[in-house]
Symmetry: C3
Subunit: 650 residues, 3 copies
């Protein structure tokens, strides 16, 4: 559990560097990420490298005892490179080239840009791969940011055809998989196929899914080139990438297979404003961030690289890029940092050391203000560093598996996006809502891929696993866990068609139901859900008509059709439940799984990490909460002020 910071020496006078390094140490920083966007300074003209300044910057940090995380600068190819090879640029869905002037202006499918990326990565690896200060490498920055995974360039279209040839071998197999007979779209050969864009109305959905798969694979391939080079030139260092929040355009599990550590960029307030929360939630959490946004991603990214993960960019104050950019309440930067450690982060690295007074992010706070004074975030980071030193002896060195697994499947997310069937069916939100209820019930969660080992979990939740997944169904059938299946589970084949039998397809035996009919519900159309054990909750957005083979209803809709069913150890939810509905079905499943549920006070969360128990108060009032009586309080107290955290040794 260590602190880091993102630093851009090229943004500041060289004369400031030694003081910056000294003050980083003073704050308690140990890791410094550099060179992320520095290509134009490293190679100001084609083939002309200017290493000296970077050598000196690294030396300055090293001399101060800091460890360096080097970046490949490939998110920002310089102007001379773009001018020499305009074909490397991405093309958007309207056929417009996405040009120079900001960042991420390259197409993952451009073979010439891949060569440039390999060239600059090799140059950096050769120069700094063995440097004693360098402990890790970050490839590129935030793959996919600004909607850059999918491109419709000539290179991408050619790449897609080759990818299809590889996937299907035979054009008849493609025609069958895509159902091209539907609207006379049958192809006679792969050369006739093109990108799914620019059509009169909805394009073939299976073609869209394959294009998404192809685009995802291109990101993985692009990254792997850098990883291979870095492993060769910088052995023993961690190779990492910094992922984003609520971003699902490529398969992060697939890309992570090539990394040592998954890192992600955590901006709780920006995400609260920009994503699917209700206006009421956006207002309520404006200065706190929804408590489960950060932890959802902590738990997700912990599942990528065998438990090794960092926060590469931690929000340190107001940001500049959300629709609205409120300031965190005092104490939130500290609380977010401890929350990351509670979920097992190795490193929490703040973005950024000092607010830049110029360019796009000049309104993005840093640990320091532009005038070199420590900002609120800097003060709180200093406090955390001190607390970490105090707790040194107690910090866990390994993590323990959570009792609950939540399965998150990128292909399923793409399927729901391509065929939402109702304008507000958002599979990411559905996953988040189920996750959030588990957290409010005091349960720790591992978010895992569909191919993860499920041994040891008492409860496995699949909120939005649209993809028919026979392998997973088989593993679930053999597991001892209670299983909760969300609506639309197993409703799509790998080719984004109906499963051979009705939904939930491969999960049908498990659930003991088949789906006879589905309906998306317009805003305001709400169905009531009446529970066998009394009371009712509500469903909106989505409902299904089930036929029960072996399942029994535990709740029914107003028309008496099953709303939630139970079959052996499997629970199926035939609608988009409200929070109270999730609480009911997850409570039943948790009970069957013999898990202890503790309904936490509003906006309070707990987490176990190793033998430590964390209690975090995101609410506006003091709360009183302690784990089991034998626990020893290492930090904070039973009485928790707003924004406070307590840590207990179990």
């Amino acid at each position: 559990m260590k602190l880091g910071v993102c630093y851009y020496p090229e943004h500041w006078p060289e004369s400031w560097w030694p003081d910056d390094a000294r003050r980083m140490v003073e704050v308690g920083i140990q890791y410094v990420r550099i060179a992320e966007f520095a290509w134009s300074r490293i190679e100001p003209s084609p083939g002309v490298f200017a290493w000296e300044w970077l050598d000196r910057a690294i030396a300055t940090l090293h001399a101060a005892g800091l460890k360096v995380v080097m970046c490949t600068p490939t998110a920002t190819p310089p102007k001379w490179l773009v001018d020499a090879d305009p074909g490397m640029l991405a093309v958007d869905a309207h056929g417009q080239t996405r040009g120079f002037g900001s960042r991420r202006h390259y197409c993952f499918s451009s073979l010439s840009y891949r060569a440039q990326s390999a060239r600059i990565t090799t140059a950096l690896g050769e120069r700094y791969g063995q440097h004693p200060a360098v402990v890790a490498w970050q490839t590129d920055n935030e793959y996919g940011c600004h909607d850059t995974v999918v491109s419709y360039s000539t290179a991408a279209r050619q790449g897609f055809r080759a990818w299809l040839q590889q996937r299907y071998s035979d054009i008849d197999a493609l025609n069958m998989a895509w159902g091209t007979v539907f609207w006379s779209q049958e192809y006679r050969n792969f050369e006739e196929v093109d990108a799914p864009v620019g059509t009169v109305t909805e394009v073939t959905p299976a073609q869209r899914l394959d294009y998404q798969r192809f685009a995802s694979d291109e990101v993985v391939a692009f990254n792997r080139i850098q990883v291979d080079i870095l492993r060769q030139h910088s052995p023993g260092r961690d190779v990492v990438h910094n992922f984003m929040g609520f971003f699902t355009e490529f398969d992060h599990h697939a890309l992570s297979a090539d990394l040592d550590v998954a890192t992600w960029d955590s901006y709780p307030l920006g995400f609260t404003q920009n994503f699917f929360l209700t206006p009421e939630e956006k207002r309520h959490y404006a200065r706190i961030g929804h408590p489960d946004i950060a932890s959802f991603h902590h738990d997700l990214y912990r599942g990528m690289c065998k438990g090794r993960w960092w926060v590469m960019e931690q929000q340190p104050g107001p940001v500049n890029w959300a629709q609205w950019n409120p300031a965190p309440l005092d104490g939130m930067v500290r609380l977010w940092t401890w929350q990351a450690f509670a979920h097992g982060a190795e490193v929490v690295s703040y973005f950024r050391w000092r607010q830049a007074p110029f360019a796009q992010e000049q309104m993005h706070a840093g640990l320091n203000r532009p005038d070199r004074t420590l900002d609120q975030g800097g003060l709180e980071a200093t406090q955390v560093a001190q607390e970490l030193r105090q707790l040194q002896a107690h910090l866990p060195t390994s993590y323990q598996q959570a009792p609950v697994a939540l399965v998150f499947d990128f292909t399923s997310i793409w399927m729901a996006k391509i065929q939402p069937q109702g304008a507000d069916f958002n599979a990411v939100e559905l996953s988040f809502r189920a996750y959030s209820m588990l957290r409010q019930m005091g349960l720790d969660v591992d978010i895992v891929s569909s191919s993860a080992d499920l041994d040891g979990y008492a409860l496995v939740v699949l909120p939005a696993h649209l993809r028919e997944d026979a392998a997973l169904a088989a593993r679930l059938a053999n597991s001892k866990a209670q299983v909760v299946l969300g609506p639309r589970s197993g409703s799509k084949s790998e080719a984004l068609a109906f499963p051979d039998k009705l939904p939930p397809g491969a999960f049908a035996d498990l659930a003991g139901v088949t789906v006879q009919r589905v309906a998306s519900l317009p805003p305001g159309l709400v169905d009531s859900v009446h529970w066998n054990d009394g009371g009712h909750t509500e469903a909106s957005r989505w409902r299904e008509d089930l036929a029960c083979s072996t399942a029994a209803p535990v709740a029914v809709f107003a028309d008496n059709r099953p709303a939630v069913t139970h079959n052996g150890s499997t629970w199926y939810t035939a609608g988009w439940l409200d929070a109270a509905g999730w609480r009911r079905v997850l409570g039943l499943a948790a009970q069957a799984a013999q898990l202890t549920v503790q309904d936490l006070p509003t906006d309070v969360r707990t987490r176990r990490c190793g033998d430590l128990q964390f209690v975090m108060n995101f609410s506006g009032s003091e709360v009183q909460l302690a784990p089991a009586t034998h626990a020893q309080c290492l930090l904070g107290a039973r009485d928790l002020a707003p924004q406070a955290v307590s840590i207990w040794k179990l």
Copy 2:
């Protein structure tokens, strides 16, 4: 009164066909529409025809005793055709080509595509024109769907210039009609004229109107080529087209002049979600559909081909293409079917036999589920078929004129769309609201064109006849009917200019008023309408200041200016009335016309067809309603459950 179904044999294994045909007969289906999108199967490569499968499909249906409605597959030109002639594609308002990958990817003005369309139609006509199973031909599918009437291709621009040359002969006449002097847009010859698109601000409105007229004419011309071929090769068969709901981009009256039967595609739930209803109406009617949406179109399309009309596609369950896609309540498919027969349909054909498990419409229900089991819609169709057989002896063979005519004029709709003057002035909605009130008053309505024979109508309503129409005004002056004119009546010349005198132009003598000033009212700005005989209602969106020449006010606005006037047998409404206001003015006119008005219970509708009287309950509660005491109940009863229908012999 017969049932049909839409079937795509090419989507299913050939081994399923005989069973499908047998089960269709079992359900009570008599008509089967096929081959709609099958071009790539019929002609897999240029000039290479694969007739055998289609021969066998028709033979299978024929053997089962089913009648076949053949389609020309021109809505889905195959890839090889598009690749060979990319100039056939439509171009959108942003200059982007609308490419292959879905359907309707052709420009009506492409002469080369017209030749292809003629070629495939001829081939089909030659092969199946005399086949004993074939009783009708559908041209193309849903002309204009997905905003495809208007194109800005090179072919369309050239066609427009030729069309203008034809219309105006002399460029000075065009300059005068369009008022090009206004902003120095005078043209020196027709070659200088271009499509009304891509301008800095509002383009010349008369140019837009002419482009709409031209585009409409192109659809008619495209269709006529197919009609002529089919009449030659398949004499004695009906030639039909399947129109859409709330779709007014081309003049359906003009196109219908070439058809034997007008058919349309009725999706009450999808239309309820996607069109102009209020959020409250969308919620209330989510699973029923607004009761007047289907009937509005039934009455509209009955007016196209001398009373001959079908429902070609009847919603059988949830669809996939609306923003939200709720499921119909049990009983609605039956009720919709009977509603169509109540309005005089010859055939009601369900879309589709079986839900396709793949491609764009995989979430669109059919009479059967993908697993070949009968879905709810299939059960209800079966019931209707049985009931039809029971009533066989009583079914009417001819229809009788309704007492009320509502004039619907496509040019007026275009005029209001080009010059709404207030963002929510929607002429289609205005027509629908007047129609809906007539239906709630228990009145049967014929929706007719502006050139229809008005003899025999007691009441003629022109809710949105913006076009100054001297011929219609003369016929109304000579008629014995009461006439109700909506706001903006006669306010636009044929060239979309002011009429020579102030509005209502040619209707001024009839109405006895002139419009001194108009105002569109922003949301929340409401004017009260005080009625001479007491009480008040409200106007929103639109109001006019009238000067009365010979008219007398029957209601006034808050400022005492006339809101509704009466002049001889003509009533003029100087604002966008609410439902209660429509009830008042239509009530006054109906009374003057000696029509019996019956305010029906909420969401209940009646209709007379031949000597049968239908009562339909779209509400959620039981109602009691019977026609005159001497009537004999053929189906249902006086006590009507929700979603039930009763039929009475008068």
Copy 3:
């Protein structure tokens, strides 16, 4: 104080002209603006001029005793010109050419179009420059209307590079000013630089600001060519331009430096519907217009040309171009006219003489209806003309400086638009809200540029002066005025970066504060502002955390941090205040400035012009208001009916 009208003789039969001229005189019109869009009539073919009709039109007006304002017709280049030089067209942000078919279809940077503009201006100047009827020239029409200031044509891109070369000389200076190091965007020479458009994400903000400056300079340069020609060919006549409302895309102060008179086009109802007012305000003011919209611009444009200004287009009834177009209440046209005179207008010219029955503006009222009858606006204009004649002896010939100056800075507006930081931070609205409160407090206001002489003002308000402005800060420090600084004052350097010290930069000594942190507040997130002297108001949208060096808080936020501070004669507001908050801080400053504040009844306004005092009732009820007891009532009375005006001699 004279009335004028906009007239288009080319729209009407020549036989109507004499009658029109006669009736204009009858109404009381003295000025007639003509030829604004008449290029295609003046020069029907390249180089072929048709002067005769225009000669006769001017002669007709002259014969009736009317004065003529001639226009250059460059807002509407004819088709033959565009066809001969398509490169003159502007290009939008999506790379699409903005074509012929409406108006303003030219790029200010096109050198060939500048030559055409000079050629037609010279021809007009030569023909009519010395005509005795001609008293003024209007250049072009509404520069920038329809978003036409910024273009991305090849000509504009080349112009931008030359402009940058001029501004920075050295590419390193540009790289430093723009902060291109941030994302590896460093340029090696000016040829590498391009327009700030088409990027993947946010483009370099300083580049956007410079592009806006460049585009603004291009408008000024385009206009200056015409001005120079007209001064040469038509000496002694006023050269004017008609500006727009709430339009800030170019620097109107810079352009006005070349004019004799600033004129503007006043459409109170259209602006009320189309701009930033709340839905409640849009409804409440739908038929009146917000009382301060017109006066805000009157006071703004009076500050452009040493006090000389006109209303060139006065709304005469409903317009056609707003989202909704309600009709003004009877009396409003008169009230608006008197309001303009109260603020010192030399001429109020109505748009337009007669409603055109054709083309884009056929739904835009005129003083006359299309049928040549006087409309309501015509009646009210007649009344004003009569009243002007009655008051002739008392009309002021010079204006006196207002006690309050409000600084309006176009560059600051651009800065806020480029970096709003919160989606609803609108600097124009912020300026308007402060202005409106001053007016409700009975204070007269001069809206001035940042370089204006501030001598004689008791109070200077800078609601949104984001630009760090050391020169202005120095002048304020030396002035005796009380100064009120809005949030974000001085927060941006000329290069749109942080000022060297923290905000408010150059204003820091004046305000005695520095801004430690800023936050934009999402909708619904409101901070309370507690005032030292009791009570509280609210802040929304924006707040800052201040450190006070020498300032003292006069109000604090809920967290006790300063919300409004006081330092010597300077007041700083650290948030977006509500109306009550503005009332508080402006009240404190006015009190310190020894200004008498009179809280006017709702929707009543007063204004002093020369030694006349105007009282105007925009409300719906009668009010009683008179200035000091000694005043003599020249028009109206102490009891003011709705929409009435009274004038008092002090």
